[in-house]
Structures are given as C-alpha cells and as structure tokens.
C-alpha cells in the first residue's frame, strides 16, 4: 500500500521526529509507515490524514491489493 506521508511531511517542512510527536507515536513508526513496512491502525490512519488535512483515501492508496489483508 502506497501512502503520501513522506510527501506531505516534507511539503510542510516537518522532520520525522516532529510528525511523530504530533501524532503521539515513535519516530521509528513514522519511518516504517513512510517506507510502507507498517500499515497503521484505522485510528492512526485517520489521525495522519486529519493532521495533513486530507482524507484517508487520499493519504493511503491501496494500489497493491495483495497487501491489504
């Protein structure tokens, strides 16, 4: 599943640590989400989307349906 977290974060000039602090997660988790190694829970996905003022489906793109289980 692709996402636009890195793109949105860099557009807003935020570091991974700053985004992590804003979302209440660890920096390692932001790194894992950005690289696609970790699919966030629904509440965290909504929190990320709200933080960037986007909808969840704009932030996360299920291009690889096999990854969605």
């Amino acid at each position: 599943m692709k996402n636009r977290v890195r793109e949105q974060r860099t557009q807003q000039g935020l570091s991974q640590a700053e985004l992590a602090a804003a979302l209440g997660v660890s920096r390692q988790t932001v790194i894992s989400i950005e690289s696609g190694r970790y699919l966030p829970s629904l509440p965290l996905a909504f929190a990320i989307a709200r933080f960037f003022d986007l909808t969840v489906d704009k932030m996360f793109d299920p291009e690889d349906e096999e990854a969605v289980r």
């Binding site: 209440g24 997660v25 660890s26 920096r27 390692q28 988790t29 894992s32 970790y38 966030p40 829970s41 965290l44």
Partner: protein, 150 residues
C-alpha cells in the same frame, strides 16, 4: 496494577522483584548452594539497570524497555511473544515425547507447560471475543427490505 510506577521503572522493577523472589527461594532451600541467591540478586540487578538504561534510548527496544511503546511497537512485542510461546510449546512437546520414549519420570513438567499453554490459548480466545457472535443483521435487513417491496 503497576500504573503508580513510572513507565521507565516498570520493567526494571518487575525484573528486580522476580530476581528477589528467585534469590529468596535459594535461601529458603538452604544447604551448600545458598550463595546462588547472591548470584541471582546480582544478575537481577544488572538486568534491571540495563533495562532502565535501555528505556532511555530512542529505539524500538528502548520504547519496549521503557514501557512507552506505540501501536507498532506493541504489535512487534506481541508477535515476538507469540513466537517465543510457539517455540516453548514446540520444545515442551519434544521434551514430553523424549521423556515418554525413555520412560523417564520427568515427563510431567513438559505436560504442565503444554496444558498451561493450551489453557492460555483458550482463555485468550474467550477473553478477546472470538466467541462473541451476534446475529447477522444484514440478513434481517434484507428480509425486511424484501417484505417492504412485496
């Protein structure tokens, strides 16, 4: 239960308490091996201090040691514990099979481990809601919709 203890001290405290209990068991046992209790206390203290130091690091291991894990780190810990449990059950099964094969008297600890693991698994299924099955509301909704149409 441990919420009154600061998060970074929770795991070190648990290790210290476990080490103290283990040391007390060796002391109560008495005999020439009483000094093992001193080793147990030293080992527990070293482990508790290393956990406390790890809890201050900005890593996944640090977050787990410091009891401040987020959802991904909790999932990581959960998967690791599940793997550890699977390996323990496999080892217990091998031990039980070997004990039976050689007609040994020490078969029962392996059986206890398997029984406790099986009970824990069933308790988990019950606690986390696998048995909570309600009526399929879409079926009744479909029936009402058809009734209204006819």
């Amino acid at each position: 239960m441990m919420t009154f203890i600061p998060p970074r001290l929770r795991k070190p405290t648990g290790v210290a308490v476990a080490g103290a209990l283990f040391a007390a068991a060796w002391l109560v046992r008495g005999g020439p091996l009483w000094w093992v209790s001193i080793l147990a206390v030293i080992a527990a203290a070293v482990r508790a201090i290393s956990l406390y130091r790890a809890g201050g690091k900005d890593t996944d291991e640090g977050a787990l040691a410091g009891s401040r894990a987020d959802e991904r780190q909790q999932l990581l810990s959960l998967r690791s514990r599940a793997l550890a449990c699977n390996l323990a059950v496999a080892a217990a099964f091998i031990g039980l099979t070997a004990a039976i094969a050689v007609n040994a008297a020490w078969w029962w600890p392996f059986a206890v481990i398997l029984a406790v693991a099986g009970f824990g698994y069933l308790l988990g299924l019950s606690t986390y809601g696998v048995a909570e099955e309600g009526a399929a509301d879409d079926a009744s909704a479909g029936h009402e919709a058809r009734s209204a149409a006819s």
